[in-house]
Amino acid sequence: MRYVKITNEKIYDFLERLKNYGKLYAPVKISDKFYDRKEIEDVREIAFEYIRTLMPAKKYFVSPTEKMFEIDIEKGEYKETLENIEPFVIFGMHACEIVGLRILDGVYLDKYPDIYYKRKRDAGIIVGLSCLPDEYCFCNLTRTDFVDVGFDLFLHELPDGYLVRVGSPNGHKIVDENTDLFEEVDKNDIDAFRAFEEKRQEMFKWEGSFDNMRYILELTMEDEVWDEEVEKCFGCGNCTNTCPTCRCYDVQDIPDIDGKKAKRIRFWDSCQFRGHGLVAGGHNFRGTKRDRFLNRYICKNAYFYGLGTSYCVGCGNCTYFCPANIDYLKNLMKIRSMTEVKNG
């Protein structure tokens, strides 16, 4: 891998130059407690210290609502609606979200590649950013705390700048076209990088691995431990909306007022909603709240063959944003009887 360094003095120049490669999206502070990603005008408002945003970056690739076709009902004709997509740069994605994006790639770009997703994926440049975990993070347990591929550039914090890993031809191009911003990595930088990684590992609240979680989960699905948690759940779908790998969508035809034309749109759906498993005739494959509640745990802990990890990337968003204070990680710890607490 190619490594370069950028100093703190040049970081805002770098961010400014990123705009040459497309619309720049980055995290900004939107209130006392919350951050969100938005299009950046002034690069100085970018919040480097952010841990999680309201919406994961998947929103740039799987739109919350998206028009797929325009339908002429009378003629029975369909016209695909491929909106014009301009190049864009997402700055500051953390390792977990980049792995999440690769999981979406595995689903959307399999043997039936989804053109709407593909076009956005091709247009997007990913610039990763290192992070330090808070009490909700457990990406070390899911082995998603470090990424090898899936980004164009990845910035690792150093005391006086950033160590940059170059992860793609686009990444090389950006470095090559802006050589005045970058310098060689020296021994001090490598020591600092190592120290940062060590410090980061120390900060995780738990240690161990979730590799056998799917088996333990399967064996304890009937357990009473779930009852109370199911009772707490509102079924609001916040957990799936904020999950970097949740990708269920529903499709509807919305007719115009004269009934002659319609739009086929798809929009985010959630397995926490009652309609998710409902088929014609009234049978519901996930008819109870318990079915729906456990479905998310099952789905997130299932094995994703493409990466050799689970579908859960350990970001902690579902817990952080849950209005009913349901703690996803604690629930899994409970069934696993996991006690390797270091700092908690």
Partner: protein, 281 residues
Amino acid sequence: MDNIYSLYKCRVLRVYDLTDDVKLFLFRFENPDIAESWTFIPGQFVQLDIPGLGEVPISICSSPMRKGFFELCIKKIGRVTDKIHELKPGDFVGVRGPYGNGFPITEFEDNDLLLIAAGIGMAPLRSVFMYALDNRWKFGNITVINSAKFGKTLLFKKELEAMRDMAEAENIRIIQTVTRDPDWPGRVGRAQEHIKYANTKPEDAYVCVCGPPQIYNDVFQTLIKNSYDPRRIYVTLERRMKCGVGKCGHCIAGSSTFLKYICVDGPVFGYYDIISTPGLI
């Protein structure tokens, strides 16, 4: 890049009432190139679209041997299927597919074939049956057990009855049975009660089962009691599907060690997959 959600235009050629609320539709592709190249495996399904209303996943119930044409057997049960039932010969619909794994029919070759259907479950199994008839020399003995609650709700009742003579000459046994119809002159009882009358040799037979989820356990137990090989039992499942291509997530089923998209990993699953995975049926 092609849009996987694009639809092929198909013309309705024939509409036939199978029961009060089930119709059989014959379709033909409008585009000659598609008609020429389109093919499927029995057990696969298509997404059938009514413009402005949406798509529904429907199993193909005809044999893949007839190029450019296919049949769908559709029960009037919801918003879209209500509209489908209004279709007349000459009308157009959108179709995409075929999707799903289908039955492992090449593996079935040189063996006996036992097809067990309950209710609307006859639809996908008719495709296997028709395929086997079109390739009669590739299969051993064949038995079809077609069951329903009432005589008037037996799917393909007349078609199967009309085959009786040919069936005898071809070592095919057709068993039609009903469970709740006192006026029915033929066999009565659930599908599994007739497994013992099949002409298939248990050690040499592949079994396909399709019906409402409640029937599976009893059918499995009877099959195994009658020495059928559990490794050769296949079922086909249904779910809510929006995409058919493993994206939308509605058909995800199974448990954390065996999480499957019914639309791409299924809808056909083997017996051991079914019994070791909570939530599949």
